[in-house]
Point group: D2
Chain length 335, copies 4
């Protein structure tokens, strides 16, 4: 069976996912696409080089009879309405992060999905599908270093044109999601520490930042977010357990010795780092959806990420340790 | 367009490739299979869980009307006849190594393909499709270390039940192929040096061995073949250039510190090391074949590997430096 | 000229330093030693195999005419009195950490040394003499990664029988000193975060801990103190600068591949890690002292370490960010 | 006791060793020095900043009453005469390599030392004193990888102005000595393979070269000698055993990530790589000599190096595998 997919939002990421679904991966075709104007959707379809129908609105994509499942890659503030519409239509929906721009919006989606009574929503946290994180999780799950006590993450971009709180949140949200999954835990509080800012960052962005999360099981997670570290795109994670320490595997490249240096290149773009994770993420989503299952990050995970982000923003401004309070988790989301 | 494939030989590797073509990769289906008995082919089809027709002979698979292209994974001595039959039938054929068990057999295939006038044959040297080798080649091709002068390979298996010359040849044949491709060069002579044999190897196998190849461009390539190194499956390649040195990237895994050791696991099976290369190899073959093209190792490459192997066997027995003499390369095989 | 040294305190460390001064290093001899009883000093002299005179008290060692300089390796609470006595006697004194058990005691030493008007006191912070830290400092000082913004330290012991605050302080005091020196900065506040404690630690020790220091220049330093990490003795330091990241070099050992593992041993004892640093520390002290100079950590550095320790103890109990307030630095200690 | 040393030859290396003996190390003083003219010896003494007497000839140094032991760092062709004179005088002598410029000369020294009846001669093969080689030897001796079967060395200089055979010999002689010691073995044959030469080398030097030695115990050792590898000074050694593989530890330096590169510096000069080895070599020689013992490389080791070098020169010119034939080892040199 081939899954027929409608894509809402055909910007850069939308087009990449269209190509991924239509050309790279197996078991899916893209049959419909929309953007803020139908002309933009038509252009995207032509650019990707597929045959699909352009629609003037996401709602039409969702309603289209030949659309089995929906991928939402539109502008963040529109995610909520499209995901809710897909739930109403009873169609599986993959939504790029954020699930919604507010925790309340995420909660409305959670409630709608629970009311619908079957799993329909997956959120685009691709790190859970990254081979390196999966290897690390397998080691932890096999008791490779004993009970984890501490974890230290670094999330570094070469350059990023962010301002205010958005940079911190947009980058760390990936750690928020993947660390809960990695450690099988939940957060109870957040603190944000601002070291002296890099002089190479313009505008009002305080960069780097250090986020400190405490979990229900008492673990402490530190996340360095450095959006303008200059040197490359670099994702690190060290987990300290009762009996040992494990590191996130790093991408391989050719070790070279020349000019009195032994060196390896460092990636400079997140797309290079996570291209395989995106492919695995969508292939597994296609395969699971075609079988009426769901296995990736849920609407609940999207909500937790939003609540955690809110607490971090608050903590950054207050300088205090702020609680992270989640509503009670519906049994629907128990594994 | 979906490529309809017939598989000749449904042993362990044959079944793996059937699964790969039918389930993992895109753009192909397996419609026919044969083995030494039709029952074995039927069993394999059932095990892989696909719908395909079993045939009593490889020739019938090749002749089947719905078969667009053929994959030969039967017992080595039968490769030549099936590849020749596929050429006669005008159907693209992917043949696992060896292309034929003798240089003469390979030459007959070369001549048949040249006579057929269009590229039909690809040989299963999967290392050219391995990401690590491709990265290394990209570095060399971009003049990353200057002109290569020397290369040092190690090909180590944990354990292998080989005897006589076969072990040496069956393992080193991958280096014979990939090093020509990596360095864009050809061999002119071979020497085989036997150190004291490991006492952990039973039978008449002299293990490890050191093969030394000289190329047309004057480079020297050393290949350590150690079929019973005990500790794991380990493929190494260091290239020494005029301005620097580059190493084949190694597989990543989780670095762990525990019990007074900092360690990473070493793979123990070649299938784990090259599983991605197999997938890329077949996906590219499917894609190219569907477009009437060919881009992987050719029958000529299979012939060169056979001639090189013959010279190494001779060199091992003589203890001398033996010439590697190739027939003139048909223009058909120029890139 | 050979420096004649008197050693006060001939326990394990005292004897090691006696051997180091008398046998390993150049330019010094040990001529006097004392312990809580003269018999113990005599035994130590015999064990080390040198000719020296035993005294019943540290004061006698200090007063001995043939003693040019003093090394204090007695029980911590006695350090202050011996250092003060040496200052009074006008003799250079090397004091193992702590300089005194309270900040007030350190301050009395600072005042005495300032009053004496010439540099006499060096404190035993050996990391400043470690080749790895010196390489890292050289890189930072040469602007190798731009202005440092963040630093992340880990201080891990395999096992340590500490209780209460002492473990945290006794280990982190080395980071307190070396990070000020490394970054050429001073501390303004401390926070201590306690993750869930390792279940492998007995008694009331909360282990590991995470100390967070903020500096006058706005940098943030995190120090993981894990006194019972089980796997080894492991000292890490990563400095994040505006243009790059640098790591403390790690000790080398033989990389081995066997039993499906690629591994290197991790040290298990701090003496192995810092044995060379101790030798360099004392050799430089001997050389400088013989020339009437001083170049290592001063009494002021000992005071800063004590004040920082006090703030960390307070922060651990309060759970708050506690200020680190230093008295004004006497011009005497400006470089 | 302080060993009083006379130094014959006060060129660059001679002056370094004078400084090492007089200033850096313990237990020795330099009391005499000679060079081709007494003025040059006087200048050297002044440059090093010590008090010693200059002599017009090495023989006078050896004869000087206050000279306990001799260090020969003069021009290679004069080594033999000074070592023989020291043996005649019954004084311990440390001779930089080569012991003599011919195997015959080495043999005359061996015979003289045997006739003298007590160990007097040590040859300056400093690698045996290098911490990395010692760690590797300790691992092998503890059966860490099973019985060694193969070893692969690389000896790379950034640039070297050698011509003819001398470059090959002058660099590989260190491997000749250290590999015998590392593997506790002797050589039986040599082969030299010349790949295409680097175009960056001027003159008649064929560079790089590949030396292949076979040992009495059947092992095979390959040595890449690359005198003009451009990128740095790099010494490698991988030993392949029956159960595992071990590598020579490499010097540590600060790992840095910047400018899209993760890198560490590579040394460019052999003095940096082996400075500690030189210090250990001479300290152990001083200590052993002061006690009337000898523990480093002997005159016999110097002879073996010379015979091996001769065989390599012959093999390079003949292109054949040449035997390495040693005279019978005098029982005097048994351990």
């Amino acid at each position: 069976m081939t899954l027929s997919i409608g894509v809402i939002g055909t910007g850069a990421i939308g087009k990449e996912h269209m190509h991924r679904l239509a050309v790279t991966l197996k078991g899916a075709r893209v049959v419909a696409a929309s953007d803020v104007s139908i002309e933009q959707a038509e252009t995207a379809i032509r650019d990707v080089g597929i045959e699909a129908r352009a629609y003037a609105s996401g709602e039409e994509v969702i309603q289209a009879e030949d659309v089995d499942a929906v991928v939402v890659t539109s502008w963040g503030p529109t995610h909520e309405q499209f995901v809710l519409a897909a739930i109403t239509a009873g169609k599986p929906v993959f939504c790029e992060k954020p699930l919604a721009t507010t925790a309340e919006g995420c909660m409305r989606i959670v409630e709608a999905e629970v009311a619908a009574g079957r799993p329909l929503v997956q959120v685009g946290f691709m790190r859970r599908f990254d081979a390196a994180y999966r290897q690390l999780k397998a080691l932890l799950d096999s008791d490779g270093i004993g009970r984890p006590l501490l974890a230290k993450c670094a999330h570094r971009n070469a350059q990023a044109n962010f301002s205010g709180d958005m940079g911190l949140i947009d980058s760390c949200v990936h750690e928020f999601d993947v660390m809960r999954w990695l450690l099988d835990d939940d957060y109870v509080s957040a603190q944000v520490i601002q070291p002296v800012a890099s002089s190479l960052v313009s505008g009002d962005l305080q960069d780097p930042s250090l986020v400190i999360l405490r979990t229900r099981k008492g673990r402490v997670i530190t996340i360095e977010s450095f959006l303008n570290c200059q040197y490359g795109y670099d994702i690190r994670c060290e987990v300290v357990g009762e009996r040992g320490v494990a590191d996130l595997p790093q991408p391989t490249s050719v070790p070279v010795r020349r000019n009195a240096q032994a060196s390896e290149p460092v990636m400079t773009h997140w797309k290079d780092r996570f291209i395989d994770a995106f492919n695995v993420e969508f292939q597994e989503w296609i395969d699971a959806t075609a079988q009426g299952k769901r296995q990736g990050p849920t609407a609940w995970d999207g909500l937790v990420a939003a609540v955690t982000s809110d607490a971090c923003v608050k903590a950054r401004h207050s300088g205090q340790i702020e609680p992270i309070k989640l509503p009670e988790r519906p049994a629907f989301y128990n594994n």
